[in-house]
Amino acid sequence: MKKQAFSSREQQIEPQAFRRKSIIAFSVLVIMLAIGATAFYFLFNEPKGTDSVQPTLRSVMVANESLFTRIFSVNRQVKLYKKADADEKVRVNGDVGMGDDFNPATWKLKVARKPGDTLVLTIDDIRALPKREIIFDFKCVEGWDQITHWGGVRVGDFLMKYNLTAQTAMKYMGMVTPDGTYYVGIDMPSMLQPQTILCYEMNGRPLPKIQGAPLRLIIPVKYGIKHLKRIGTIFFSNTKPRDYWAEQGYDYYAGL
């Protein structure tokens, strides 16, 4: 646009016209602010669903997920670190599903291949699979992060080994703790991302009980709320499996 001197914007205006202009402008401003405040009021006070969040806000989360999964590659890998970077003292942030009445010695992993057809595996079955190690920056939804070192089997390798490739056509995988109190649902592409592991080691040693022994999920492309500790049952579904933290009002996708 052509450069015009600011002073060229000067004009003469009748006092009445100026007054009229002022009244209209201020009225519009007040009305628009009132509309905005009312919209916010209704958004804020919309009755929350069983998932602890206003349905409008939930639909925005879903829309954000759908947009971002469309424009992003789910196979993008997280940044990796050296062993020396990993923290020895790994933060423990939750104990849901980690009740005391649990015996790791008798633990078995249940994989519900389809309704009524459950595969039962021991920790040795899982340890027999090729081990992958990952050192990455673990991120909590609260805002902290920590470089940590984990070992286990890739979910993709595990599914391949136990002939569960047909199940990978399903949209979601669900995981539940043995006591059923903590549960996550995760989209299949994120589960198949090559850095996602069924984890049984931390810092090169067996997983401590408080960190989810004997088997937990490590899924670096998601917030910590999805890294279920003490896996009891794994299942597959085309509908969203129940998710503990999504029911508390958090984003279901929780992808990074």
């Binding site: 000067e10 003469q12 202009k21 002022s22 806000l57 925005v60 890998q77």
Partner: protein, 290 residues
């Protein structure tokens, strides 16, 4: 002299803020408020930042009483839900503002020029009542040019650091650019503190600048005050003295003010101000407009 007659005179105004810019401004205000509020709900969950060194803390972000007064605790999920809705409004509004400013040519009145950084200092001294008079300005003075351009850069910074901590895997390169996940979060937080400080200074400046300046952000036009300068008949010597000081119009004003009487009493004589100032320098920028 009938002063009522003068009220029917045309008013001289300048089209200061285009309609689009007024919209962006007033949309941004509540949207940024919601972003800061929801961001606070998120920050509370890991409120590790402070001002200080070693074991000495000057200011903790934030004290417990502050959180409780604003009902912040245990609303992380709510904060995220609002933050990731209003981020779109914040982004779209900011994008449109920048786009409009470029397209319309308003950027010429906004961006600092080669004089701005030197002149901004004079503006600061003026606003602190240390120095009298302002360098000539167009829509904005030098300090405003810097501040209002910086706030846009800050907005861009919030978007970049926000994306870096929102999707650190997908935007791994942005995250690295921001000095890593950790530092990106610190920057994102610091920028927010910057907005709050900007807001405080902005409000003070708007109040100081007065109604005419404020209403221009609503109506778009600012009245050009042609203050009737009313003087009582003075001695020739005084007039001469005034004439010598004419380049410093503030001095003129002060001398005038000393001579002002009640205009309604018709014992005064009105003079248009232009007659008193040097048309070459045209120094009429007496007030800081915000």
């Amino acid at each position: 002299m009938d002063t009522h007659e003068h009220t029917t005179f045309m008013k001289k105004v300048i089209k200061k803020h285009p309609l689009a810019i007024r919209w962006f401004h007033w949309v941004n205000f509540p949207v940024l408020t919601v972003m800061i509020w929801s961001g606070l709900l998120i920050y509370w969950a890991n409120d590790v930042y402070r001002l200080g060194w070693g074991d000495t803390t000057i200011l903790k972000f934030f004290p417990k009483s502050f959180y409780e007064a604003l009902h912040v605790p245990f609303k992380l999920a709510q904060g995220m839900a609002f933050h990731y809705l209003f981020m779109w409004l914040f982004f779209i509004n900011g994008f449109l503002y920048v786009g409009y400013t470029i397209w319309s040519g308003e950027w010429r009145l906004l961006l600092p020029n080669r004089h701005s950084f030197k002149e901004a200092w004079l503006v600061v001294l003026h606003d602190l009542h240390i120095r009298k008079g302002l360098p000539p300005q167009e829509k904005y003075n030098a300090a405003q040019r810097i501040a209002y351009s910086a706030i846009i850069v800050m907005g861009l910074g919030s978007i970049i650091t926000g994306l870096a901590i929102y999707k650190p895997t997908q935007f791994g390169w942005l995250c690295a650019l921001c000095g890593g996940y950790h530092f990106a979060r610190i920057l994102h937080f610091a920028l927010t503190i910057g907005y709050v400080l900007f807001f405080l200074v902005h409000i003070i400046q708007v109040i100081m600048a007065g109604w005419n300046n404020f209403q221009a952000m609503v109506t778009g036009v600012e009245l050009i005050k042609e203050k009737p300068i009313t003087i009582v008949p003075v001695s020739t010597g005084d007039v001469m003295a005034l004439g010598q000081n004419i380049e410093d119009e503030l001095h003129v004003e002060e001398s005038m003010e000393a001579a002002i009487m009640h205009p309604e009493k018709n014992i005064v004589e009105e003079l248009p101000r232009e007659d008193l100032i040097n048309p070459e320098t045209n120094e009429t920028n007496e007030e800081a407009s915000v």
